[in-house]
């Protein structure tokens, strides 16, 4: 989560300096940038993609693009928005591939997940998010998991800020219906088990 503006500014300056070094072919700087982003990117990609192997592959793809395209970064957006923008596009491509090959599997996996959901509220969240459209899910993910502002999300996703707000509005409305439904279903299952 972003902290103070001053702290955020310091991080940004630091990351800009790192990226400038990466642009000059500095492997050490690249390694530092990788270490910084790996947990955030892994978490983000893991929530989008079901196969952990694919997640690691996509993460490497993202960082390879960072290495190759560092000179293309013009500083219009924050470094984190730029990197997450690459991750977003890679994730969307990988998701399409996953859906193409595993669509029936995924749906059954979702159904199983819903059926197996416990009464723990925290566990309904990933299940509920799976029921959102990819566009809506991305906005929720990038807001709550990754802590981006709506302007940054617009840069990452490549859409106007109003679209981000609209997607969030629809995602919230859907979650408002989904979460109690999942909670009710879970309670019923708990009762049956008891």
């Amino acid at each position: 989560m972003p902290n103070s503006i001053a702290g955020k500014g310091a991080t940004e300056a630091d990351e800009l300096a790192l990226l400038a070094r990466v642009r000059r072919g500095d492997r050490e700087a690249f390694c530092e940038l990788y270490q910084r982003y790996q947990p955030r990117l892994y978490g983000y990609l893991r929530r989008q993609l079901s196969d952990p192997g694919t997640v690691e592959e996509v993460l490497d793809d993202v960082m390879l693009v960072v290495w190759k395209d560092a000179r293309k970064f013009r500083g219009d957006a924050a470094v984190s928005s730029w990197i997450f923008g690459i991750a977003y596009r890679k994730a969307m491509t990988a998701m399409r591939t996953e859906r193409r090959y595993q669509a029936p599997l995924d749906r059954s996996a979702n159904a199983d997940a819903v059926a197996a959901v416990s009464s723990q509220h925290d566990e309904w969240i990933p299940v509920a998010l799976m029921h959102l459209s990819p566009d809506h899910r991305q906005v929720v993910e990038l807001t709550y998991f990754s802590g981006f502002s709506y302007q940054e999300i617009a840069e990452i996703v490549g859409c106007p800020v109003n679209t981000v707000k609209t997607r969030m509005f629809h995602a919230r409305r859907r979650l408002r219906v989904l979460l109690p439904a999942l909670a009710g279903q879970a309670k019923e299952q708990d009762r049956e088990r008891a």
Binding site: M1, P2, N3, I5, G25, R27, F30, C31, Y34, Q35, Q38, P39, Y42, G43, R46, R47, E56, D60, M63, L64, W67, K68, H121, D122, E123, W124, I125, P126, V140, T143, Y144, F145, G147, F148, S149, Y150, E152, K165, M168, F169, R172, L175, R176
Partner: protein, 217 residues
């Protein structure tokens, strides 16, 4: 201190998720909070969103993140660098090779010699067989003669002549008056030559020659 700008309920409600994730800039944060204090719906939404955020945060903390393993990405970068270096190396070698004007002249001369030798030794295609403009390329196997009749020959005489020699018109007349005639019956080369002679002796025939198809029946 300036009073914060007011926002509509829709605007404030739309920004609540980012108030919760603490990413609004100070001015926005101030105006949204100001609105939320006086709006029951937004206050309730804010509570819901905070609960959602907490749930999401704790759900995300459940996932184990593996330690960073850069071996794969490093190998790919090494390969990339290697590929990038190989290109300029080749260019540098070529540049080195063409540094001296004598070398350039030698290479140009060698290339020219190779091209000339190639042109001389290249197998040329056989000349096409001589064909006249009127010769049909699509005649079926058989014996054919090309004939030019006198302009005085009437249609009746032509039919009579063709009937007596058992000839049929296969092609023509061309714009030069050439007919290609087919022989109805099988005949030897001698018979064909006799037929040609008969035609040539006819005063109404100006020209008669066999069509050379390379084989006779």
């Amino acid at each position: 201190m300036n009073a914060p700008e007011t926002v509509s309920h829709e605007q404030a409600a739309g920004l609540l998720p980012w108030l919760v994730n603490d990413s609004l800039v100070d001015k926005e944060k101030e105006t949204v909070l100001e609105h939320a204090q006086s709006c029951v719906i937004c206050r309730r939404d804010l509570d819901d969103l905070e609960q959602l955020r907490d749930s999401i945060m704790s759900a995300s903390s459940l996932k184990l993140i593996p330690a960073a393993d850069m071996r794969n990405v490093n190998a790919r970068i090494d390969a990339l660098i290697d590929r990038q270096n190989r290109g300029p190396l080749l260019i540098a070698r070529l540049r080195e090779a063409f540094e001296s004007p004598w070398r350039i002249a030698f290479v140009a001369q060698s290339v020219l010699l190779v091209v000339l030798a190639g042109l001389l030794l290249w197998p040329r295609p056989r000349d096409a067989e001589y064909t006249t403009l009127t010769q049909s390329q699509y005649l079926p196997p058989g014996i054919y003669v090309r004939v030019v009749f006198s302009p005085e020959l009437t249609q009746f005489e032509l039919i009579e002549l063709l009937g007596s020699l058992e000839l049929t018109i296969v092609d023509g007349p061309s714009n030069r008056g050439v007919y290609t005639l087919g022989v109805a019956k099988r005949m030897s080369v001698e018979d064909r030559d006799k037929l040609i002679m008969d035609l040539q002796e006819d005063p109404k025939v100006l020209f008669a020659q066999p069509v050379n198809r390379g084989a006779t029946q």
